[in-house]
Subunit: 666 residues, 2 copies
């Protein structure tokens, strides 16, 4: 991605924005002589982080740093002889813990880089900042002199990945952990079971993964590898086993755990399904006790997520025995029954020293205050849970699977203005998590759904609440997107791959370029619309179309939308929009020429080309003041037609023209 | 990659070329109704192959095939109701075996696709052909009607990967196995130990991987995963443990096995090093016996590679005890001592029912005839070994790490004209292996070194020896390159990534495009030249420069070279070269403009720009007949200067201009 707007100081490109930054005169020029001194505390994780940092600097610059005789990096005892000095007061534990001190001080002077921190984890956060600060001019790679004091606003800054709906191999997890570390996130939440798959090896109940995963699961060795990889980056791993609903994959192998008669099969579609564990069956608790005993041995983090969302209650309501149990135990209704189930889970997890985490459906007067609530259904849920004494994590507003623009997530604050929480209640808001539900992502497209938008969420959770300039966020998002590519994220590279495949063998370079230009002005349909656009949904349908190559934030559309806003605000002339409308028209023409090379794809490309051309004509007539004889209702009809998605993509510029039209006709 | 030359029949694009092909009238139109019938024998591997084939067709076309009620693919009993019919006579064993019948018959008619084969492996080979045959017009995806009869020329068609010099995670291995299957290769040779790393977990001798790998090794579970993944694609896995030389990583943990005093460390550089196992020490054989017992349990293939190459003998010569042993046992010299060592290894491997394979250094009168020789040092080695009664595998001429063009490998036949071998000796030539030594490849660049060139080697080993039209091979290589990208190889996608990183944040789209154009006319330096160009070599230096983004076959250079050949042959006018020279000049100008955005990279970009501009001027003066007053020696001096690599890349067009100059001055 090329970057158009350059600031003089690279420090202004950092994401997340640090708490305090002071730019100084001068710079440290990076050369092949780059010895390191680690004073004070160290840890294996820090040593590996230094190794990675040096490799990354070499990879970006092409410089080859000096090496010690046996081939390793050059470490020196004397800080005065070093160009990178790290002074951590104490070594962080091997496994990161919630609330650890992650603060750091970073200074760059002409003689080198110095990091000071309370913990080795803090020093690792600083190294990510260093990587982002690397700058160059025609002659040199360098770091501008500065001082940074930094620390996070929230302690829980997470990303949830869902390998259930679409399997995500371990390399996907690892590269996303690298992305998380780059933007200082510290919790990976793995959603490990759902109707569409049970994704972790269980030696105690092997039919879970053997019959519930199509062979696509993480072995316990791989889980250890993921946990180690995360821990080395100062990231905790919280597992989720989603029950009692979303349990189809569990009951394929163990139908006796369900609340209705089987047989069951792995669910291939998306939605809310009936198979639900039976909370009145003592065997279910024995099963969960032994499973959780095993899984708490595999996942060392003190937090353990039991899901609890979207239990439709169909099997419970249809089962007389279960309804009798509800009455006999004064549980009131199915919600009460689920609270009973959760209390039982909490007892089991307490035995294994785990704190129960669940989606906000678990909130109920009967659930112990020690349970952590992850809020996804609305901002009220978060406040209600915090007031009820629970620690809470915000995910409502961070549902990155819904393809909303980065801006929407960025402005979604866990503690928004007027939140009405007391200081004590505010302290219960631990942070937030971006949730990457995987109904519509493959290993090939997932990076472009997670990144770079998740960097905006990471900033919301790390930086001060007062940092909320949307334009500046988008400007910086371009830099962080490049850094993410530098370290192995495939959000950019795989778009090229998708376009090449989509275009096919007969497409010329020009035709592929036309598709790339189209991608700057379309976006995948938002929210849950894609399931309506592509009703033939199934775990194995192709995710290789335009909607998969398109991004949640399309650049040209955003620029046009900003320009329309400027016109409406009176900051720009109406005529300033003509250039955009001309570009739209050109893109439409290029697509029309490309179509003949695109095989059966030509149908949707021509339909989009037509929509864009019409939009350009309509916009131009609005800008020129010539309505071409179209009545208000005709314009409105046309706008509605242009809003009808083709190939499961939207043209956001239609909304901008609509806005312009409303402004001109008010 | 866009493809310029289209043939009417997609069947003419196949790689490898099938033994017999008959194009027929009509076509089978692919729609969402695509039921499958598997008649006769089946296997889990075939079922998975059908599943993959259906997914791949969906991924390329965007079609969604019908699904059975539980979400799986639609299988029918009645072949008449199916659109893909597979009839294999017998199920192949779970583990592929050397010499299995891989032949198949494939027919496409208007009613569908039919595959017949002796074995389920043969049917899998046919499915790869089907994937390559998918064609489209403006309206439809289709398969042209035809009949193919196909079978391989050689039984051993391999690719060697080297995860020692640069670690290659399991996903690299897997995607390359997919590429191998696409072009019908059937042996993955894993070079698992070398001076720079011991890459497999040993539970019996754990210090091998614990101290010899920096933590980068395949667990035994992962090895099983690789073997299963390969076996499902009809590919055998042959492990190599390279001894007695190349043993630095072994003796880090077990210095007592070496022929000289330690301590030892993991080697970070490239070359031939001293650490060598001690063949006079009985403890060495005990160690190897227990290791091989373990490893033959992990690797089930009957062939077991013990390396044996590049033992420099330094430690043996310097060790009096060892030299005494040579004398006392009438072993003549170090080579005789190595033959003694290999005989001992052969005895151990025989216990575990393994056939010993080794590089051609192991050839010696004392080595048993049952040993298989892998020839790498010259064509003579292959013939000599075959004449000595050994089965042989050709790798000389298939060293893809040396960055020679696909053409060179393609024309390298295991049984070249005038080979002088008897029929019996010819039968001992099992096939060949492309060898991807990993001194200069990272997981990010390896695909572009292996692919698409290895497809040309795969064709050499599968297709008739009479198939050797180089131009047609290059034409078809473009198609197979696209298919490789379709299935997940990253040779194309990662070039974009490398260029983006190389160009950096300040580069405009035009500047990046200029670098892409440069890449069509440069190639990484060939042979062992890179080590001379970049003497600061080390396992961890960056492989992110121009030489890493460039390809072994640069398109524009090849086209220019062909044009020069046509001029020399008298088939074209001299003036036909002007267009190329003009393009060169344009590329040079674009690079010059780009330089200001490229930071410190600008130095090498400007140097290359200058070389290309000078080449264009020189070529233009030759074409116009105007030598601009340059004397013969001045021209020759200039050509020599232009041949001096910048940034470890060559401009192959310089050689073509040199050729033209020689022609014009003869």
């Amino acid at each position: 991605m090329s970057i158009s707007s350059l600031h003089a100081e690279y420090s202004s490109n950092l994401m997340p924005v640090p708490a305090e930054i002071k730019n100084l005169e001068g710079k440290f020029v990076l050369g092949s002589d780059f010895p390191v001194a680690v004073e004070g505390a160290t840890s294996e994780a820090l040593e590996k982080a230094v190794f990675r940092s040096l490799r990354r600097l070499e990879h970006r610059t092409g410089l080859v740093f000096g090496r010690a005789p046996a081939g390793g990096d050059v470490y020196v005892e004397d800080a005065a002889a070093a160009k990178l000095v790290i002074v951590a007061k104490k070594a962080s534990p091997d496994l990161p813990v919630l609330g650890e001190d992650e603060s750091y001080f970073l200074s760059v002077s002409e003689s080198g880089i110095r990091i000071e921190s309370e913990t080795t984890t803090g020093a690792q956060r600083a190294l990510q900042t260093v990587f982002q600060l690397l700058d160059s001019d025609q002659e040199n790679w360098f770091f501008s002199a500065l001082e940074i004091n930094d620390s996070p606003r929230f302690a829980w800054r997470g990303l949830m990945l869902d390998p259930c709906r679409h399997w995500q191999p371990i390399e996907v997890i690892k590269r996303n952990l690298d992305g998380m570390a780059l933007v200082k996130m510290n919790v990976l939440h793995l959603h490990l079971s759902d109707d569409q798959g049970f994704r972790v090896e269980s030696k105690v109940h092997p039919k879970l993964h053997e019959l519930g995963s199509d062979g696509n699961y993480y072995t316990q060795t791989e889980i250890k590898e993921i946990i180690d990889y995360a821990a080395e980056r100062g990231i905790r791993v919280v597992p989720e086993f989603d029950i009692p609903g979303h349990a189809s994959s569990w009951v394929v192998g163990y139908p006796e755990l369900a609340s209705g008669p089987g047989p069951y099969y792995i669910e291939r579609k998306w939605g809310v399904f009936d198979p639900t564990l039976d909370p009145t069956n003592e065997k279910v608790y024995e099963f969960l006790d032994t499973l959780f005993e095993e899984m708490t041995g595999v996942f060392p983090d003190p937090y353990f997520h039991i899901g609890g969302d979207e239990n439709n209650g169909n099997q419970w309501s249809a089962n007389e025995r279960i309804q009798k149990f509800v009455k006999e135990n004064d549980l009131e209704d199915n919600h009460g029954l689920q609270a009973y189930f959760n209390r039982r889970l909490n007892e089991i997890l307490s035995k294994y020293n785990r704190k129960l985490v669940g989606w906000d459906e678990i909130l109920h007067p009967d659930i112990p205050q020690s349970a952590i609530i992850q809020s996804w259904r609305g901002a009220e849920g978060l406040a209600a849970a915090a007031k009820a004494g629970h620690n809470v994590i915000l995910s409502n507003g961070y549902y990155i699977d819904l393809i909303h623009p980065a801006k929407d997530h960025y402005l979604n604050d866990p503690l928004p203005e007027g939140h009405g929480l007391s200081e004590e209640e505010q302290a219960r808001v631990l942070g937030g998590e971006a949730t990457m539900w995987a109904e519509w992502v493959s290993p090939e497209t997932i990076d472009s759904r997670v990144w770079p938008r998740t960097a905006a969420i990471a900033e919301r959770l790390w930086s001060s609440g007062s940092v909320k300039d949307v334009d500046d966020m988008y400007r910086r998002l371009d830099y962080i997107s490049n850094r993410l590519s530098d370290i192995g994220l495939l959000h950019d590279a795989n778009q090229d791959l998708l376009v090449d495949r989509y275009a096919g063998d007969r497409a010329s370079a020009e035709s592929k370029e036309a598709i790339h230009e189209l991608l700057t002005m379309i976006e995948p349909v938002k929210g849950y619309e894609r399931s309506r656009q592509q009703p033939l949904m199934n775990q194995y349908i192709p995710l290789t179309g335009l909607a998969d190559a398109a991004r949640p934030d399309s650049r040209l559309s955003r620029q046009f939308d900003n320009a329309v806003d400027a016109v409406i605000a009176g900051d720009k002339e109406l005529s300033s929009l003509s250039q955009f409308l001309g570009t739209f028209s050109e893109i439409a023409s290029k697509l029309e020429s490309a179509a003949s090379e695109l095989g059966p794809r030509s149908t949707e490309i021509l339909a989009l080309s037509k929509q864009i051309k019409e939009l350009s004509i309509l916009g131009t007539s609005l800008v020129s003041g010539d309505k071409s004889g179209l009545s208000k209702s005709e314009v409105e009809t046309q706008l509605t037609e242009l809003s009808t998605p083709v190939a499961a993509v939207d043209i956001p510029a239609v909304k901008a023209v609509e806005k312009l039209y409303a402004h001109l006709n008010k």
